[in-house]
Amino acid sequence: MEMIERYIYAVTQKLPQSQREDIAEELRGLIEDMLDERAEGRDITYRDVEEVLLELGNPKHLARRYRGDRNYIIGPELFDSYVLVMKIVMTAVAIGIIATFVIKSIIDPISILDHFVEFIVSSVTAVPSAIGWTTLGFVLADYFGGVKAEDMQFDKKWKPSDLPAIPDTKRQIKRADPIAGIIFYVVAIMFFSFSNEFFGVWLFRDNFSGVVPFLNEETHGNYLPFIILILGICILKECLKLVYGKWTSKLVVYTAAVNLVSLAAVMLMITGSEFWNPNFMNELVESGVISEGSEAFGTVSKIWEHSTTWILIFLALSLLWDVIDSIIRSRKK
């Protein structure tokens, strides 16, 4: 009966080599026993064979039962550890990729676009391969057994005091806020790196005809790493908000420290004699926006001369308000 052999083959080929012969022999005996019972002494027909095999069911399912119902690749015993390790790996990869981008951009801000492209490329390649390798590791660990969840020491004894606090909605930081902040600072970094010449008074004569820049273009290259560093510190502040997720006194202290550092850095930078465009007033006159000696000229030049002070005062006040605001939020009950 060829069909019987085909059935046995279909079952055993999905089983480990070492068990195939034994199981095949046993199945053959079983099928013959079942046929004998069905035929009750008369000759066995093709129909009998078919009915017996139908009773035994799909060979795939039978093979799976022999293998022990393994229709998963990472079993329940290892699954919790798998999720935990995956989170750790993903965090590490994310930190690595972001840090590479930030450090490269600080060292070599001129090619920030290249670094950004590298950043995207490494995100697309590194993340899936990290997921893949982690999963493969666990699949192998599960397949070859031996590794038990208890051995991995991840499941520390649980205590009721481990329960996380219910988030306090009043002190909670909305995730959108720091994310918007980070995007703003990244855009600012890119703006200062590529298009600082557009940062100035825009001239329109019928249509756009040029810019009188606020910044000193000759020294801008020297200041750029400084600007990026300051904005980088601000990004760090937003990241801290994201990580903490709610206003705590610790976070308030960090915010205050970051604000103080960035205020000092900005002050140091913009009070330097070479930061602003030294020919700003002359260029305004040349472009014909105002004429020298007019009343408007006096006003604008006064504003221009005092702008540094005003910017600093404004910045100091807003950073101070930022700190006060966070103190108030952290005190809310």
């Binding site: 046993e26 199945l27 053959r28 005996g29 079983l30 026993d33 079942m34 022990g68």
Partner: protein, 116 residues
Amino acid sequence: MGDAKQHIDKLMQELRRGTITIGVLSQLSEPQYGYSLVTMLDEKGIQVEPGTLYPLLRRLEKQGILDSKWDTNESRPRKYYLLSETGKEVFELLVAEWKNIVSSLNHLIEDEGEGK
């Protein structure tokens, strides 16, 4: 009605999965081969499909609960299974657990009946 039947089918499947092991072990103080076990259990009102029983026997053998031996003297070779020393112990403990469950559940079910 159809819904209730569907639920029962699923629940019975889960319920049977554990009890079949007890049934099988109970018959193996004497050596038996797979198909004779199917017939024996069937006669005593426990229906097991060969496709379930054969892999189960093998698993129990691998766990060391059953011993096995091929008998090639008969018309066709048959693999006989028998409780091992560990298996006997396991079976005794399992029966005690089972009786506990039965009496506790009976108690629960009957209590609920009296409450009505």
